[in-house]
Amino acid sequence: MMNMNWKSMSAFMAVIFGVMAIMPLFVGGSDHLMHILIMCLIWAIVASCWDLIMGFAGIFSFGQVAFFVIGAYASAIFSIQFGINPVAAMFLAGMVAAACGILVGLPCLRLKGAYIALVTFAVHMILEPFLKSGMGRAIGTGGSQGIMTIPPMELFGIVFSADNKIAVFYAALLLAVVCSIIIMLVIRSFWGTAFLAIKDSKDFAASLGVSAFRHKLVVFALTSFLTGLAGAFYGHYVGMLSTRMLGIDLFVMLMIMLVIGGIGKFPGAILGAIITVTANEMLAPLGPYRPLILGAMVVVLVLLLPDGIIGLVRRFIPGKNPADSRSPSG
């Protein structure tokens, strides 16, 4: 697998996040556009986590949206039912998501890809009935109504609520940058190398003392934590949650982000998230036809964009450093 080196990865990320950082100067007046930008950043985190799991660690996890929703609900419940400060609740929620990740990972990470996909997808499928059930209501999920009044985060006297989108945007940007750096460090560290070795030859890697299971479990827990954190952030930002997030269309949208960004082409997923969220907003007037088009898009994109945008650029620009060569337009 061809990975980007450290430098081009950082440059790519610096350009994307740099451009994002100055966007409020141009669109700061529009609440709707700021909301789209915030969602771009939140989904960039989730898509990057998924890419780390699927593209680099080779784990076919289909539970990313489930962990996002677990984090969102957990944080909302902590802050409403137990009166915990939202910032602390977010971290606790990340821990809950990580614990769920470990619980799910323990029985299935030793097995073949299809089993992992099955188990993680089953988690996604049973989460909705669980949140709506009497059990869910007992812990404060609000049943089919969902949770309506989630308190916003508050730090240094700034309230990060939907009324103050600029503040939320920069908080999201900070979170996205931190998460991206963590993911990059994992990819470029011993861990990334270990995963490459496991992918190339599992037995040889094992003979060198690389435990595939342990590595996979830790990465699974880490990405579940970050995804849960992103979900918690989302919950405190929009102020309400419902099980509608568990619909297949959102899941498929996340998949489109990864396909556009390229699986295993890490900073690509960030770009994929930004493109997908924006495109999805443009599809909004189509109403009931939107999920239909999303589904068709996956089929077409998987066939036509095998390596995502980065792969496409690399094919047409035979430079050594595709990230740099495309950055002026980034």
Partner: protein
């Protein structure tokens, strides 16, 4: 009391037989080509809608016999072409397995929303395949249940016969055992993959036609079926047809009894618990060949 349990037992037997048919179709496609079909549930709904179109919308003469006569070739062609169009092109790549999961998930979203646009979000009901009940002392068996059971079991037996006695069936088994070896002796591997996909589409589609009379057809109704078929397949053992059969009946019973004692909303949790326990204790399932 005992008769009540007998009723539930019969209900479990009926559902179990249809689940068996669908799980065998799923284990077949995974066993032969290692393709993980996320649109399996949508193919189930497709079967239900085909039956609805013929039975209710058009009001075809000849009833269900005619529906089956038309639906089987239709589903076969649909499955064959789907494989050729979206799965075969992916096979050349090293990461095709995950790409297949993604593309079939996209297909599922497309089909489900297509159903919704074409037929509306409301559930469609179908007339029963056979009216009337059989009375055995205190136990009532509807002829519909009996017919569903008989048809799904004959479906599985027919499939077994095809697999063991026809050239295509033998080629399918050869490809499942050793794709490269099969290719060396001149078996057209790609055609077999597509044909297998077609056969599995037929099996789940028939499942859809049979269960639609009991549980209605709805655009998003297939997701339950996908998860249940996968749990049965994992529990019975990936690639083992006999394992899938036993697992389908066991889990059909589980569903009937859990539904009766605790309510239908608990069925999915129970199945999920079975799945996790199976994978933790015996990952290859009851009698799996591929661990």
């Amino acid at each position: 009391m005992i008769y009540e349990y007998l009723d539930i037992f019969i209900s479990g037997l009926t559902i179990g037989s249809v689940y068996a048919l669908m799980a065998v179709g799923l284990t077949l496609i995974y066993g032969v080509s290692r393709a993980f079909n996320f649109a399996y549930g949508s193919f189930y709904s497709l079967g239900g809608y085909i039956a609805w179109i013929f039975m209710v919308a058009i009001g075809l003469r000849g009833g269900y016999a005619m529906v089956f006569a038309l639906a089987v070739p239709l589903l076969m062609v649909f499955g064959y072409l789907t494989e050729k169009a979206i799965i075969a092109p992916l096979r050349r790549r090293s990461d095709w397995e995950v790409k297949v999961m993604m593309i079939t998930l996209g297909l599922a979203l497309f089909m489900d929303n297509g159903f919704q646009v074409l037929f509306g979000p409301r559930m469609k009901s179908l007339p029963p395949i056979m009216e009337g009940v059989i009375v055995l002392g205190e136990v009532y068996i509807t002829k519909q249940d009996m017919m569903i059971f008989v048809l799904s079991i004959s479906g599985i037996l027919a499939f077994r016969w095809i697999l063991n006695n026809t050239r295509t069936g033998m080629a399918v088994r050869a490809v499942a055992q050793n794709p490269n070896g099969a290719k060396i002796v001149g078996i057209p591997k790609d055609k077999i993959f597509a044909a297998t996909f077609g056969i599995s589409t037929v099996m789940v589609g028939i499942g859809g036609i049979l269960l639609a009379q009991k549980y209605f057809v709805s655009p998003m109704g297939g997701w339950d079926i996908l998860v249940k078929s996968w749990v049965i397949t994992a529990f019975g053992g990936m690639g083992s047809i006999r394992g899938s059969l036993y697992a389908a009946f066991l889990l059909g019973m589980l569903e009937a009894f859990v539904g009766y004692w605790f309510g239908m909303s608990w069925v999915l949790f129970a199945l999920f618990a079975v799945l996790l326990a199976t994978l933790a204790i015996r990952p290859q399932g009851l009698m799996g060949k591929w661990g």
